[in-house]
């Protein structure tokens, strides 16, 4: 069990069990990122490896990161329809550790008050904690605090860029490049903006290995390209893109880049300075934080030149009857009362993740993700989408798949009702991608660091039983 004490300036200091002796302090992101960069990410084990078979990998056995952290997540310890819950829908939303739940509860119990406006003790404390959370987000991705804008979620963050930056910077004929594997939130706002401005959307297809074709991307980048919108990690294909290279190519032609980091920030070290991205969005609820808050990172010089997105309180400097002047970023883009407790909860989530260490989380999830892939690919009549993992091909810890002649919704329903296994079925907000793959929907099992090898094993056995059932039924 990880327990927490807090010092005001340095964030949470966790008393870790013996298995987690290394403490990564929140304040020193640059050295952490350098350490990450000096050890290129690669799949440390694969099905083709002659090293320890994944099924026997000690990193996945008792004492694994999943086993150690699992007690911190109360929601995982329940039964669903008579079976122990196996939660494998983390790409949709992650579960919250006790530390985050307590942070939220403590806010509402001890110092709930509106921020940035009151002069009493409660308001001052709420403001300090809210801004401390902003600093934590900034530190987490190696940004400046004024470059972090709190939004309702990543979708709102992308819409902010679309309506604020997009409407004032895009002209007829300008090109916006998007991949066909993007989440709807990274496609629809740009369709709307393109319609309003006359800009043109161009889409990058997939390679035969079912990853976005960065070669094609490089070919279609031109001086007409004004923006590139891309995911870092695909929520369906599990592909991981070489964003630093892609961003470099985009900048060479004068284009800006918006990175959808919803599936990367919760699972790996992400350093916006190293990436040199212009915008980056993330969701709190996918990184063990509360729902209702997300964030936009934008380079200071870009944010300074952007008009407001929403108008109202907090984002103004002065208001007259016939006009208003606006605050500097980030306040300019945070109209109205924010999700204060939720932002503070996000800060607590970042503390929790940081104390484990994002590199450690990533390494463990890579092992477990490969184990999931290996076990799932050994099940008959299962087709997994996205690239196969190897020493050179990175794959996130999720698998979207279909079972021959059985609808994914039927699979997911039976897994839930009979086995207490929670997976996702549908199009995962990636309809163009599904259409390209020739399918209407798919099932998806997605992991996080609190999942264990046992979870994967139970899922696979439940899936086999499910397939047997529907096969017999037909």
């Amino acid at each position: 069990m990880i327990t927490t004490t807090t010092t005001p300036m340095e964030g949470a200091i966790l008393k870790l069990p013996i298995g987690l002796r290394t403490v990564n302090r929140v304040t020193n992101r640059s050295s952490t990122s350098l350490r990450w960069r000096s050890r290129p990410l690669h799949v440390s084990a694969s099905a083709a490896s002659t090293s320890t078979p994944l099924v026997d990998d000690p990193k996945l056995g008792p004492g694994s990161l999943g086993h150690i952290t699992r007690p911190d997540f109360p929601i995982l310890h329940q039964e669903i329809n008579g079976s122990k819950l196996v939660y494998l829908d983390n790409a949709a939303t992650s579960q919250k550790p006790t530390a985050v739940i307590k942070a939220l509860q403590n806010y509402y119990e001890a110092y709930n008050s509106n921020v940035h406006r009151g002069i009493h003790y409660l308001s001052a404390k709420a403001t300090d904690e809210y801004e401390s959370a902003r600093q934590k987000v900034a530190n987490f991705i190696n940004a400046g605090a004024t470059e972090i804008i709190f939004t309702r979620n990543a979708t709102e963050a992308i819409n902010l860029v679309a309506y604020s930056w997009g409407l004032s910077n895009l002209k007829p004929g300008d090109e916006i490049i998007i991949t066909i594997a993007e989440h709807h939130s990274a496609i629809v706002p740009w369709q709307i903006v393109a319609q309003k401005t006359g800009a043109v959307l161009k889409f990058v297809n997939l390679t035969e290995d079912e990853v976005p074709d960065v070669g094609q991307l490089r070919d279609i980048l031109s001086r007409r390209t004004k923006l590139l919108v891309m995911h870092h990690v695909s929520n369906m294909l599990a592909s991981v893109l070489p964003m630093d290279e892609v961003i470099s190519w985009a900048h060479d032609v004068g284009a800006k880049v918006l990175v959808d980091a919803c599936q990367s920030v919760p699972h790996m070290v992400v350093d916006v300075k190293n990436l040199d991205t212009d915008f980056l969005v993330g969701s709190s609820h996918k990184m063990c934080g509360p729902t209702g808050v997300g964030f936009l990172y934008g380079k200071s010089e870009i944010l300074s030149g952007m008009p407001p997105f929403l108008g109202g309180g907090e984002m103004i400097a002065d208001v007259y009857l016939d006009h208003s002047t606006y605050a500097e970023p980030p306040s300019r883009f945070e109209a109205g009362t924010p999700a204060i407790g939720e932002a503070i909860g996000l800060g607590a989530a970042i503390d929790y993740l940081s104390e484990i260490g994002m590199q450690r989380i990533h390494d463990y999830e890579m092992e477990l993700g490969n184990y999931l892939y290996d076990r799932l690919s050994s099940v008959s009549d299962v087709r997994i989408y996205g690239p196969a993992p190897s020493r050179t091909v990175k794959r996130a810890a999720l698998c979207s798949f279909n079972v021959k002649d059985v609808h994914p919704t039927d699979i997911a329903t039976f897994l839930d009702q009979q086995h207490g296994v929670a997976i996702r079925s549908g199009h995962h907000c990636a309809q163009p991608l599904h259409r390209h793959l020739g399918i209407s929907s798919s099932a998806r099992a997605s992991l996080h660091f609190y999942n264990t090898k046992d979870d994967v094993d139970r899922f696979i056995e439940a899936l086999k039983d499910t397939i047997d059932f529907f096969t017999s039924f037909k």
Binding site: N81, G82, S83, V406, H407, T409, D410, T413, F414, D416, Q417, Q418, H419, G420, S425, G426, H427, S440, S441, E461, D465, D468, F469, F470, S472, F473, K474
Partner: protein
Amino acid sequence: MHCKHSSLPFPLTISSIPTKSNPQFPTKKPIFFTSLKNSSTFLTISLTPTKPNPQFYHKNPIFFTSAQYSANGGYSNSTSRTTKTNLSSVSCLITEEPPLDERLSVVDKVQSLSLEFRSLSEPIDRVKRLLHYASRLSPLNESSRLQENQVFGCTTRVWLEVRMDNKGYMRFRVDSDSEITKGFCSCLIWVLDGAKPEEIPSVTAEDFADMNVGLPKKGRSRVNTWHNVLFSLQNRTQDCVQERKRALSLEDPKGSEVGVK
């Protein structure tokens, strides 16, 4: 006849003669619940099904009238009707075909359906019942699987045909690529097929809450496909009614069938 469980509100019988024939149901005598009007048939419902093994389905008794559970484990779908059998493994049973002397209302059918699914205490048994009803639905032709027939806003694909017959009753046909969804839809059109147009809006999603198999009960969403099917069915019924009124206002003496795609 009596039901074994004292909490049942009324005795039930299973009629093998539907109120109106629907070409989608493959057998000439599909199985439906009706409210009891005659005492010449009896039904026994076991409301205490054998506790299923949570791990493996084939250790669970299967609550289908036309299912054959193999003692060796495993499930086979037989279309043969069972007569009086070991009731510990069957929850619905046909013993006779009752004479049917009146048309069931939509309300009666909804109540019957709710009762049937409420009798299945384990969620997995509701899944299996839905799959059974799905198996009884013949697929739509490819010519009917058009985009204009597709119910939008669903995670599964559903095709719905809606038409009004010569006598002004509503007729429905449905198909889906998901067996569970097909099961829901099968029940839905059993309730509503042959109903008067004014009966169609009277049914709400909440009326089918007892059929729930893990789906959210409140609010419309993509996962509640059959909610979307119900809404689509109701909207398109309204379209049929409007179309019919327009046709009648032209004083078409034949009163031709009106279908809305």
